[in-house]
């Protein structure tokens, strides 16, 4: 039954992808769905794309393993959207840029900053894609008995076909559908599981260390660093920003983001409950990422258990597919525009390295860290590079190209090093390990300082005044906004 569920999700995605091919004609369609998507549909699509394997499976797994402190992770992932809404949403949409490198070039009028931004988008995208593909392999193997190397390539294949078929537009429809699929897939089994728990006498959990947050000051540091990284990292994620630009104007962009907050909140109420149930009934699991899929079998059994497991497997695969698609589109978009010639053909060619590199890595590297942890590191990298760039670029006239470049390189290098170390060494004990596993608390402020410090000593871009007008004023007013246009579209 699980195999059928997975096949169904894959086929549905492909069909939506092929249908999309007939709708997409120009490059503009291809990258950003021509900005004709309604706020609720857009918000559903953003939610669908954002909720990756880390949200669907990983949060429950980490909560099972680590207890109350891990509840901050989904709070951060939702709160990050609030921060995005408040600091970045309308001005970014008004900049007219399609991608983060576009924004960097528009605001700072520098190709060096643009190229650095492109490089960072690709790295963050790869860092986020890697755990999706790794987990897909494990889940497919666990649920259908397929060999462990099959899941990643399966997801990759479906993603590639879908992306090549329609680019952004087809993906909008698919993603919107997949948010609601994921919500349903996670909510429905929970009803049955909770009923079974009550029939069991509604047992409580005794493990106090697990139940109570913040035990020990290393834990306090990790919590704060996690909070910082997740709250500030959302705005710089490549797949978040790109879908953002599908709004018709700045106000719609704000409203869409507010909708996203509601949708994410609804979803994130669920994984913590799975984690708690897991503590009661599946505490022996070695691979905690599997708790969501294990519980129906353990608590319910029989045909109902099987059916619900199939539903959850479908949801998990929807999660792999949707986030991987979104990431691939944005990474391929950046590679196509900045490394290749730009245009539809470059985008298609760029899909190969965009997805290929993380796929190869996923097959080569044994999955040593839980999926939500790896995703957390992508957030840390984003928070240490693009957050300062966006916040300072949008609100401070004084940001210069040299300052931005210095900051991006500093944040990128330091966080990158911390990530590589933690992946290589695994999760250790002690202060050094904690500092490296959650680098956000020191890399983010450092990058801000570097950007501000260097900017003070260097020259501003020539068109700053007009750029600021463009970013902040409502589109209806007739004002001089300068004549910058995004490249080649």
């Amino acid at each position: 039954m699980n195999l059928a569920a997975v096949t169904l999700v894959a086929v549905a995605t492909l069909l939506a992808g092929f249908y999309g091919l007939r709708l997409s004609r120009t490059t503009s369609d291809f990258y950003v769905a021509s900005r004709t998507v309604s706020p609720l549909a857009n918000a559903s699509a953003i939610g669908g794309e954002y909720l990756s394997a880390a949200s669907f499976l990983g949060v429950a797994g980490l909560v099972l393993a680590g207890g109350a402190d891990l509840l901050w992770l989904p709070v951060g992932w939702t709160g990050g959207y609030l921060v995005l809404l408040v600091l970045v949403s309308a001005p970014l949409r008004r900049s007219g840029a399609y991608t983060l490198p576009d924004f960097a070039e528009a605001r700072l009028e520098s190709m060096a900053v643009r190229r650095t931004a492109s490089l960072l988008v690709v790295l963050i995208g790869w860092l986020y894609l890697l755990p999706q593909l790794q987990t897909a392999g494990r889940v497919l193997a666990g649920m259908t008995g397929a060999p462990p190397w099959a899941g990643g390539p399966l997801v990759a294949a479906v993603v590639v076909i879908g992306v090549l078929g329609g680019g952004m537009r087809s993906i909008t429809l698919v993603q919107a559908f997949q948010y609601w699929l994921k919500l349903t897939a996670l909510a429905v089994p929970l009803v049955f599981l909770l009923a079974a728990w009550r029939r069991d006498g509604a047992p409580g959990i005794d493990d106090q260390a697990w139940l109570l947050p913040v035990t020990g000051d290393q834990q306090l540091y990790s919590t704060y660093s996690l909070i910082l990284a997740t709250f500030l990292g959302t705005m710089g994620l490549p797949h978040v920003l790109v879908r953002f630009y599908t709004n018709p104007d700045g106000r719609a962009a704000r409203r869409t983001t507010a909708f996203v907050l509601v949708l994410l909140g609804m979803f994130y109420l669920l994984p913590a409950v799975y984690g708690a149930l897991g503590k009661l009934y599946a505490a022996d699991l070695a691979d905690t990422d599997g708790v969501v899929l294990e519980l129906p079998r353990r608590l319910l059994g029989g045909l109902l258990g099987e059916a619900l497991t199939a539903l959850l497997t479908a949801g998990a695969f929807a999660a792999f597919l949707s986030t991987s698609s979104g990431l691939t589109v944005s990474v391929a978009g950046v590679i196509g525009q900045d490394l290749l010639r730009g245009g539809v053909r470059s985008f298609r060619a760029a899909t190969v390295p965009a997805l290929g590199v993380p796929l190869v890595l996923a097959l080569l590297l044994p999955a040593s860290l839980p999926v939500a942890t790896m995703v957390g590191m992508a957030f840390a990298l984003s928070a240490s590079t693009f957050c300062p760039l966006l916040v300072l670029g949008i609100w401070w006239r004084g940001l210069t190209a040299a300052g931005a470049l210095a900051g991006l390189l500093t944040g990128g290098a330091l966080t990158g090093a911390a990530v590589v170390w933690t992946v290589a060494a695994g999760q250790g004990e002690g202060w050094a390990a904690a500092l490296l596993a959650q680098p956000g608390a020191w890399t983010v402020p450092l990058t801000f300082l570097v950007m501000v410090g260097v900017s003070r000593r260097t020259a501003r871009p020539a068109g700053v005044a007009r750029t600021m007008v463009r970013l902040h004023t409502p589109e209806g007013l007739r004002l001089d906004r300068g004549d910058w246009r995004p490249r080649r579209v």
């Binding site: 109350a68 509840l71 901050w72 989904p74 709070v75 939702t78 709160g79 959207y81 609030l82 921060v83 809404l85 408040v86 600091l87 309308a90 409580g204 139940l211 109570l212 947050p213 913040v214 306090l220 919590t223 704060y224 909070i227 709250f231 106000r251 704000r254 409203r255 983001t257 507010a258 907050l261 509601v262 994410l264 909140g265 609804m266 994130y268 109420l269 913590a272 409950v273 708690a276 609100w395 600021m468 007008v469 902040h472 004023t473 409502p474 209806g476 007013l477 004002l479």
Partner: protein, 84 residues
């Protein structure tokens, strides 16, 4: 124009500060006030009710409040410009 930017920035920073106090203060509060950590409401631990439940509607509410305020700022600015 810079008045608009300033009022929008003030609004944004206000929400961010509120968020920071809420989010930043909660771990500290739970650490420094042990009875809160162990309190129970409706049979469920208070930290869980807050972190896994109440926080989400609060975020959504803040978000919608911000949207209304920001749009009002823009409308004021538009009125100002058009009156000239």
């Amino acid at each position: 124009m810079s008045a608009l930017v300033r009022s929008q920035l003030r609004l944004s920073l206000f929400v961010c500060t509120l968020l920071a106090l809420l989010v930043g203060g909660l771990p500290l509060l739970l650490l420094l006030v042990p009875p809160l950590r162990e309190a129970r409401l409706l049979g469920l631990p208070l930290p869980w009710l807050l972190l896994a439940g109440a926080v989400y509607p609060v975020f959504a509410g803040l978000g919608w409040w911000y949207v209304r305020q920001a749009e009002r700022n823009e409308k004021d600015f538009e009125d100002l410009v058009e009156r000239r």
